[in-house]
Symmetry: C3
Subunit: 180 residues, 3 copies
């Protein structure tokens, strides 16, 4: 295998209160800790804390993908029924292609914990060679969702032509099917 470049991973917290400094963002750090625990390949994190809302999320995603060259962007917050929850709309607005299986599996997994999991409108899309995944806002739910969908992410990035990443199989077994 050739030595691969470091993956660039955007982590976006969409929260009016966190971005205004009213409380401390715990979701972004939870994602970063999860990635640090699971990934064995080199990566750098680009952290953003922004207000909820369509424009702020949309513009941040475009910047992270088109300008900063991210291979993967994970968002947290803004996926529920509150009026300011517009992260899925912003994500779909920048999408080139849709991956409904991510949202389906995250909701299905979260449903085993709380019946309100169906209120989460999370989705995943690609924009160019970047995969964007919406995660829930609560730190406890973030790990549940990442554990569910991340096994498919390294192979997805391979197919998209994004950076090579791999997980520690003793922490999270990712899956690359045999070629064919």
């Amino acid at each position: 295998m050739t030595i691969s470049r470091s993956a660039r991973i955007g982590v976006v917290t969409a929260s009016d209160r966190a971005s205004a400094g009213i409380y401390r963002d715990e979701s972004g750090p939870a994602i970063e800790a999860w990635l640090t625990r699971c990934l064995v390949t080199k990566f750098e994190i680009l952290r953003r804390i922004i207000p909820d809302g369509f424009e702020s999320v949309r513009d941040t995603l475009v910047q992270l993908v088109d300008v900063d060259g991210c291979d993967l962007v994970l968002t947290t917050g803004g996926t529920g029924p509150s009026p300011r929850d517009l992260t899925p709309e912003a994500t779909e607005a920048v999408a080139h292609r849709h991956f409904p299986g991510f949202g389906e599996l995250m909701r299905q997994t979260s449903l085993q914990q709380v019946p309100t999991a169906i209120l989460s409108r999370q989705t995943a899309v690609t924009r160019g060679q970047c995969l964007i995944i919406n995660l829930p806002g609560k730190p406890a739910s973030i790990a549940v969702c990442l554990d569910a969908v991340f096994p498919a992410v390294p192979y997805c990035l391979d197919l998209m032509g994004a950076a090579f990443i791999d997980t520690d199989p003793t922490v999270l077994r990712s899956f690359r099917p045999k070629a064919g």
Copy 2:
């Protein structure tokens, strides 16, 4: 808790035959009976029996939400593969935001009964501060679907700023997560 206003719940039967008086609507009454059995908070029902089709459903939904001020609208009928089944299209046409988890869970639950559950194109959306949920047309399937998704509805209305509703926990346990 402050005394809350009565919730307004629209119940829309989309059926060419029922609206023409060819047969008696049993689906609307089934929804009303289910709500009466489950809800312990005050509510009033706005019943509509209309022909199938895009325009009739769309216009009825807009009226119930924008003019009549409904907090929740439940539709029945028009979600299958028949040429006149256009309730999901009409629902999406009036949507401000989409909640794919409702349709996913209703189909998954109905699949345990009949393999044709995948033909149901049900969805749920919000328009302003109103939640609109498509239910199947058959009375027996209505209860199955409401039992599956309604536990999340009271909390959803809270977050949207709609009326407060609550269920009799001995009939259907709804779920409000702790704030956080």
Copy 3:
């Protein structure tokens, strides 16, 4: 029952390599073999092997439905994350109505085999009186997905006004609910 006309079933392989003759298409024949094994009613197959990509798939689907009068079209290939995988986009571009339950069930069933099933963006739609279903590209996955969703297909075609088809119940039990 009146003697019914033969069903016309389009089978579309979207693959740059197969259409260029670089390797032999195995997916189209796998679909054809599955249909031959399961269907007891008369049908004719219209096979197409085309390059990946939005326009080629879109134009082929329009031709098969609008000109060739297919009742059912099954596609294989082009549903993953590779840049040339645009079959779902092309399918949605020709859709009159969407049937999200097919993709949900195919992904859910495939997930029991591989975690990368969530990368499959398969959907099903109707265009006029034709049902179009996206299947995965790998022959082994095709049978898994057809076994999962096909029990609902004969009844779907009934409701749409397409040709009558039926399966051998000792091979695959399809389901037609009692009228009501």
